[in-house]
Symmetry: C2
Subunit: 554 residues, 2 copies
């Protein structure tokens, strides 16, 4: 099995010439490649896109074969991908998906990292995270708005909507975590981000997601203090271990206004550096003694979580940002680890009740102008949402594109369908220079069961019921999404989540318009349905407003 190939430089084709047989398959091809663009992926030569070891394909043989198949696939055929490996091509029909993907799924009794890692090493599996293995990751920008929305909600909940002079402490500047400093300053917060890998800090400086690199904790605190005086928020990266620095701040009684974390705690073997270890040491120990690494990582996480709990007690608004660090600490004895809430029940659930989630699109032309035109279209079609307009303005100004130009916008049921149809029309009319794809994160309203994150503390206690994301995937398949995926273990790691993804191509045809109308309605509608079924009034209202046909609610 060939997983590391330093000679590989992947970049999606641009423009309106295609090598696949249609835009449906060309879109899959470009988005797969875009996931592995050096501007986009964390470790493209290992096929790692983001989120610990979240991959786009199982190995390079599989990658090459997927490319080959997508290039020859007809528009009434469907490719099956099993944990990043192309396993079969079948006759379907024009309104069926072109690719169906199942990544990292394990029968529950065996659904843990140990068993996964064994299979992974034997070449039998791959970790798909959420959008890595389902080919709709669009770089750190994909997470910027979600993080920004969360920080705005935190400011509303704790600081009367005004983040001025406040600062956030966090850990991790990886694929997703790297969006934190930009999202924080956009929302008016300063930020101190602790990261063990200096190259990650430098990468975020280069893309202007991060403002400064501190030379020491004292230096960092001074930069924050300065920002407080000038009133201009600053984001500061600090090389160090989060478990160490979080504890030092507690000891020194320096209390941040907000505390969170985005190390890859969900994957204790690969995602979290134990205290006192160097990166090289960790790399070596991973080969020698996996159990020891996992134990050491969890123990350091326990230290960090204890510091987070301590800071919370002294007044910091502390929140788990969806990396399962509470569970890991809990497993090694931190009994009150769940005393600070997850971000979804705390800040995001009301959005999910209305089918609002991380809607995103990418322009296959590669031309930034195409994105700016869609930005303008969004403003035109959703004229009275100042918050959204503000977001679009900031995004245009401050977010550098990585790979194919893309945009993310949290919009809900009704709006998604409207935007999708308008974009398709813009492709048809030639206003856009090539087709575009529309997708979303698996972290969305109707597409995930994850009791420590997206479905934490559901009103009716149905946190762990995963019928919902499975139905979401089946319905997106039945509605004609271009590719559909079913994953396990994204965000919070093996055993803790099941979720589904979908992408749909706007190629400007009338057939596509029909599929778009169905998919972009049905997909968020399943989220409203799921939350209405759990008893959320906001979701029940939304279902009524949109005349959803929910038999047991009628």
């Amino acid at each position: 099995m060939n997983r590391h190939d330093p000679s590989r430089v992947i970049r999606a084709a641009r423009g309106s010439q295609i090598t696949a047989k249609s835009w449906q398959t060309e879109a899959a091809l470009r988005m797969l490649m875009n996931n592995l663009d050096a501007e986009v992926a964390e470790h493209p030569q290992d096929l790692v896109v983001y989120g610990g070891i979240g991959r786009a394909a199982r190995n390079w043989q599989s990658y090459d074969k997927i490319v080959e198949v997508l290039t020859r696939l007809n528009d009434d055929e469907t490719l099956l991908v099993q944990s990043g490996k192309p396993v079969g091509v079948f006759q379907t029909h024009a309104n069926a998906p072109r690719v169906l993907i199942a990544n990292s799924n394990l029968v529950p009794h065996w659904a843990n990292w140990e068993h996964f890692n064994e299979l992974d090493k034997q070449g039998l599996m791959m970790y798909g995270q959420m959008t890595a293995g389902s080919w709709i990751y669009i770089g750190s920008q994909g997470i910027v708005q979600g993080t920004y929305e969360t920080f705005v909600s935190i400011a509303k909940a704790h600081f009367n909507g005004d983040a001025k002079g406040k600062w956030v402490l966090t850990g991790g500047l990886g694929g997703m975590g790297g969006a934190q400093p930009l999202a924080a300053t956009m929302a008016g917060f300063s930020m101190l981000a602790v990261e063990v890998d200096e190259s990650r800090i430098d990468f975020r400086l280069k893309s202007a997601y991060l403002d400064k690199k501190a030379t020491s904790l004292a230096d960092a605190l001074q930069l924050l203090e300065h920002a407080k005086h000038t009133g201009k928020p600053v984001s500061v990266g600090l090389l160090g271990n989060a478990a160490d620095i979080f504890s030092q701040l507690l000891e020194q009684n320096v209390i941040p206004d907000v505390v969170t974390d985005q190390t890859s705690a969900h994957d204790p073997l690969n995602g979290y550096l134990p205290q006192g270890w160097s990166m090289e040491q960790a790399a070596q120990r991973r080969l020698e003694d996996e159990k020891a690494v996992v134990t050491a990582a969890k123990q350091s996480m326990a230290v960090q979580v204890k510091a987070m709990l301590g800071l919370q007690q002294r007044g910091a608004a502390t929140v788990d940002y969806g990396n399962n660090i509470r569970q890991m600490a809990f497993e090694v004895g931190v009994e009150n680890a769940f005393d600070f809430p997850g971000f979804v029940p705390a800040y995001i659930r009301p959005l999910f009740c209305q089918g609002i989630g991380p809607f995103r699109w990418a322009v296959l032309s590669g031309d930034p102008e195409d994105i700016y035109k869609t930005d303008a279209k969004v403003k035109e079609l959703i004229p009275d949402n100042a918050h959204l307009h503000n977001w679009l303005d900031m995004a245009k100004e401050r977010i550098q594109f990585q790979g194919l130009p893309a945009r993310i916008c949290w919009v809900g049921l009704g709006e998604r369908q409207k935007l999708g149809l308008a974009f398709n029309e813009m492709v048809r009319s030639g206003e856009l220079s090539a087709p575009i794809v529309i997708g979303r994160d698996h972290l969305d309203s109707g597409s995930v069961a994850s009791p420590n994150r997206e479905t934490e503390s559901m009103l009716d206690g149905s946190d762990a019921v995963s019928d919902w994301p499975l139905l979401n995937a089946l319905l997106n398949t039945a509605s004609g999404a271009t590719w559909v995926s079913l994953h396990h273990g994204g965000g919070v790691g093996m055993g803790f989540s099941q979720h589904s993804g979908m992408v749909i191509v706007c190629d400007g045809t009338e057939d596509a318009a029909q599929r778009i109308a169905r998919v972009l309605h049905n997909d968020p509608a399943t989220g409203v349905m799921r939350h209405a079924d759990a008893g959320y009034e906001l979701a029940i209202e939304c279902a009524r407003k949109h005349k959803l046909d929910l038999p047991m609610l009628a």
Copy 2:
């Protein structure tokens, strides 16, 4: 929540008049009702079809609403069913399934009976078993051929293909287990079946699946002895606890030729009566102290498994028949519980490698003549399979229909599609008096991951990888099956399996023919693909023969 309603008497409509808007939805309606026909279901008034607490709908409110929705559903709409509850109706298209079902699915970390039972009690879930919640159970006959094929394989493997004078010891005469005595005598074996519920014994006597009821163990052994002398196999039911009787036989050094079990061991709370308990006592204790029941049941299972191991050591061919009894015993300390094999790796896997599995169909007319005509068609189209012809003759002669007349036939890739298209043509031409449905068990070649049963001891160690059944469900949805289901915990219980089902309607139209051609090819083809991917030569050969497009094998 209303789960018990003694006033309910459900029976599917017969004939060619329909109350739904088309045969697609009428078929779902009739098959749902047929699952709850008193001739078919174990406890229809509790909505329990078979396999412990395997239900067709969550409660009577849900049942009524499903019936209502199916009656009004259009042929470009799709109903979503979440653990037996109808939760949404969505716009799809003519080639999409009419019903999409997800039953009993739980995020792995919470995927155990304790958590399930809690949710179940709160009315948030339902156990779907395999064909109970997916509306294609056809009574004990559904399992007769599978069991018959297994016994024939056992005779081949251990007794030179001749079962004469040999006998099988087993436990359980429930929905599935009740097929054992008939399958055994069909295969030439005598059988002793131990069952704690006398009504189950009487039920099997009435349907002629079982020949005799013994008054004591001594009486039973005498009946078996007599059969040995006359050379005519006999099946004997004995009221008793399997843990007791199996142990007594070992003590008395009476060694059966074959030993297995089909109590509902997969569900220690509801499916297995502990030693020394009466049925009433168990029912009471289940309400008072679930943990105590589970513990007592597992301890009795340990006793039974130890007896099975002892009998194996003294020469009996001992096999786990897919109820997870080894796992349960293992969990309470029987370390060598897995010393006897499961029936799939031992006898069934070669069939799965060729996409051969429990293909079945039911005639919606209700007319037995329609089945006999299809029987004849099978013989005509598969002329050179004497074993299959023999099975069809015996089935016609010895299997009483329960509910809508149905037939099961283990056939493989190629044959399934051929039969489906022929049946559709027979509907079109009027040779059959109404449409028919074609489906299968979830226990099939490409539709299940179940490491203690269907995917035990896979060649490459991929037993627990559940990407495969998920892909199977997605592909059947994309191919246009009439209904598709995704379940968890069937056969072996919560945490131990994931599997998918499909049913397709032959209404005689050309559109249906196209869907049938796709679905009945693709569905078994995913099984061949899965086994070829695992390295089975027989599957690789089969894939080549049928020109499957498996990119990494080419």
